[in-house]
């Protein structure tokens, strides 16, 4: 990438080849690995090592290796693609798009933009101040802050890999509805008095830099590679433990045990109560939940649990305490958690 290594003879064609050649090769390799995943583990574990596919041990070990490979491949491919696409968006652009919106349509727009904008909850506070000080309504800002973590790429990969695309689509659609409605409700309650006053007094100085500008394709591809390695390095222990425990449940926990303990009418609120304090472990929690679903946990409970894990996180609440008074944080948690619990019951009733 550095200009000193470019030879003067390099034509646009060879530059494009150098950029897209590795991407195409990686995509071909990805597709190859994904398509041989099951036959490879069948062959290695059952034919070569001689495990019995019908035994508990054989089934569990096969489940573990097959799932770890599948989820890792899906995470790599989807995080890379999503990061490259999102590099064309930015929080700055999102704020500009939300600037003139009223509540209602503004909440829906904010929820949608929360999904496509590259955003880390570590920036939640400066983004909150930036939105509110620029005149974006409180409820619209909240819709953005709810949708962004709830509909995130790791959650989508885990759901797609373990439950298929219908459940994933349902999750994304419901996540958008909850973010829109919860933000709208908070807006209707006129809780501006519970926002720390300095937020409204913040003067925005200086010109705004839009990080999505001035990026070359090489920068965008490099961002995609870095994001993949950052996320994989962060979640691999959770992924291994989660899939490992899931494999054990698959093989050994009897269905009757679970049907007795997690399917009752209190299943949804209990799942949400456990899910809220768990954070960023979607990768580790989902394989477990998939195994539990297999043993009889209903789909609405599964979705509610997943949403509560990713949408409401303790570290983000502690950060937001800087700008929101505890009463508003409590209201925020209560509104979002109620939306999630209602969703859980709804899907338990109709699926």
């Amino acid at each position: 990438m550095s200009s000193s290594t470019m030879t003067p003879a390099s034509s646009p064609v060879s530059a494009a080849l150098r950029r897209w050649g590795p991407v195409a090769a990686a995509a071909a390799l990805w597709w190859f690995l994904y398509s041989i995943n099951r036959p490879f583990w069948d062959w290695l574990l059952f034919d070569v090592i001689g495990l019995d596919p019908l035994s508990r041990l054989g089934e569990s070990i096969h489940f573990f290796f097959y799932d770890v490979t599948k989820i890792t491949l899906l995470l790599t491919g989807i995080i890379f693609s999503v990061t490259v696409l999102r590099s064309f968006m930015s929080v700055e652009r999102t704020r500009a798009l939300l600037g003139g919106r009223r509540e209602g349509a503004g909440n829906a727009a904010a929820a949608g933009l929360g999904v496509v904008t590259p955003f880390c909850s570590c920036s939640a506070v400066p983004a909150f101040i930036g939105f509110v000080a620029a005149g974006v309504p409180l409820g619209v800002t909240m819709s953005f802050l709810i949708a962004s973590p709830m509909v995130n790429e790791v959650a989508i990969v885990m759901l797609y890999g373990l439950f298929g695309w219908q459940i994933t689509a349902l999750y994304i659609g419901t996540g958008l509805v909850i973010a829109t409605l919860a933000g709208w409700v908070i807006g209707r309650m006129s809780l501006e008095r519970w926002v720390e006053p300095f937020v409204f007094e913040t003067k925005l100085r200086g010109k705004v830099i839009d990080p999505s500008m001035q990026l070359s394709w090489d920068d965008r591809l490099a961002m995609g590679r870095e994001e993949v390695s950052t996320i994989l390095r962060k979640i691999w222990p959770y992924l291994l433990v989660g899939i490992g425990v899931g494999a054990v449940i698959h093989g050994w926990v009897p269905e009757a045990w679970f049907a007795e303990h997690a399917v009752g009418p209190l299943g949804v609120p209990i799942a949400v109560g456990i899910g809220v304090p768990l954070y960023s472990n979607a990768a580790g929690v989902m394989p477990l939940v998939e195994a539990l679903h297999d043993k009889g946990m209903p789909m609405g409970t599964v979705l509610a649990f997943m949403m509560s894990v990713v949408a409401l996180s303790l570290p983000e609440m502690i950060l937001l305490r800087r700008v929101l008074q505890p009463k508003l944080i409590a209201t925020f948690i209560a509104v979002v958690a109620s939306g999630i619990i209602a969703t859980g019951y709804l899907f338990n009733a109709i699926i």
Binding site: M1, S2, S3, S90, V91, E92, R95, P118, F119, C120, C122, S123, V125, P126, A127, I129, G130, F131, A133, F198, V199, T202, K203, L204, R205, G206, K207, V208, I209, P211, D219, A222, M223, E226, L319, R322, V323
Partner: protein
């Protein structure tokens, strides 16, 4: 040169700082470094995605960790 690193203390902010320190050393620029971790002050710079880099009271980069080349170019252009 007056350099501020804006960020609430995440790993990316530390990386931006070390990159920028290396770049000033490479270019032989004498620079004063300051870390800004207060979210209100970060927001007052108009920055909504950290880490961000402020050089001589002007935001030159926000929301990403640049390559070492990018930082050198940003600083050399000043």
């Amino acid at each position: 040169m007056d350099i501020k690193i804006l960020g609430s203390g995440c790993a990316k902010c530390a990386k931006l700082e070390s990159l920028t320190r290396a770049a000033t050393a490479d270019l032989g620029i004498a620079a004063e470094f300051e870390k800004v971790t207060d979210p209100a002050e970060i927001a007052s710079w108009g920055v909504m995605a950290t880490p961000a880099l402020v050089v001589d009271d002007e935001v030159v980069l926000s929301g990403r960790v640049p390559s070492p080349d990018d930082v050198r170019q940003l600083l050399a252009a000043r």
